[in-house]
Symmetry: C2
Subunit: 137 residues, 2 copies
DNA sequence: TTTACAAATCGTAATGATTACGATAATATT
DNA sequence: AATATTATCGTAATCATTACGATTTGTAAA
């Protein structure tokens, strides 16, 4: 998702487009991968020293609620990334740099067939490892 | 995995087979699904009142380390279940009761083909929903 | 079956991520 | 510019998990 698209969406939904919110979204737009709340705080700290946990977490949840974010949990910490495309897909996630690569493979058709009487609500398919760039280093 | 098998493995690896450890493994063997540390503590409390967090968490990690447990993270909490069969598989997890059903579907062959230069180390494929039993209730 | 020692457990405090809150500041609309 | 609403601050509370010194207990050898 484009940074400008995300900022417009905030406004469109009646929320205020503050400098901090724009800076947060810019961080994720440039990261192009999963980042933690702490990563975000560290990034914002120089420009907005003393930024409150409340601000950071409240906005992360806001972004998530209005569909600007994808989230996952790695090692007991929530990770966030800006929503990418709108079609269904999954991710390879690099354990070193957190960057992601879209995977088109999704076996849910097959799973639905295998789970006849089960009410399937959601699923998670993630691949972890080291991306080509990090393998170099 | 059978309860007795798990207990034997503890002894085989040189760890002591205490009453608490057996009770813990029995809890998971009977649960046949994912449970939290808190679930375990609540279950043990009547018989072993005042049981220490240290004991619970240390043993959960021990069980995990020697391959008696499978773990996953749901809603920010670690969940544990006794290892089931030895062949590769994934799980449907019921959001109500935590019980699991094995899924034989695994699309990793296809993924390997799609991620040529990526060093794949691990993957997670989980399906969430409501099991047939919980749909009744 | 006692002894001895390593391992396990207890009771509790510390940690780390996240959530919550009353007071203050900033944004958008009129 | 005034006003009402929303956002942010500073900080405390919460929740799961980890850690630690003191004590107890299983195990295997005497």
């Amino acid at each position: 998702m484009e940074l400008n698209e995300a900022i417009k969406e905030i406004k469109r939904q009646g929320y205020k487009t503050t400098a901090k919110r724009k800076a947060m979204l810019r961080f994720f737009a440039e990261a192009d991968g999963y980042r933690t709340a702490k990563d975000l705080i560290n990034h914002l700290e120089p420009a907005y020293k003393g930024i409150s946990f409340d601000t950071v977490y409240r906005n992360l949840h806001l972004f998530d609620n209005i569909g600007l974010m994808e989230t996952t949990e790695l090692n007991g910490e929530k990770h966030f990334r800006i929503s990418c495309s709108h079609h269904h897909h999954h991710h390879f996630i690099c354990k070193d740099c957190g960057k992601t690569k879209e995977i088109e493979v999704c076996p849910m058709d097959e799973v639905h067939r295998a789970l006849d009487n089960y009410a399937i609500e959601d699923h998670k398919f993630e691949i972890y490892g080291i991306c080509p760039v990090c393998q170099e280093a």
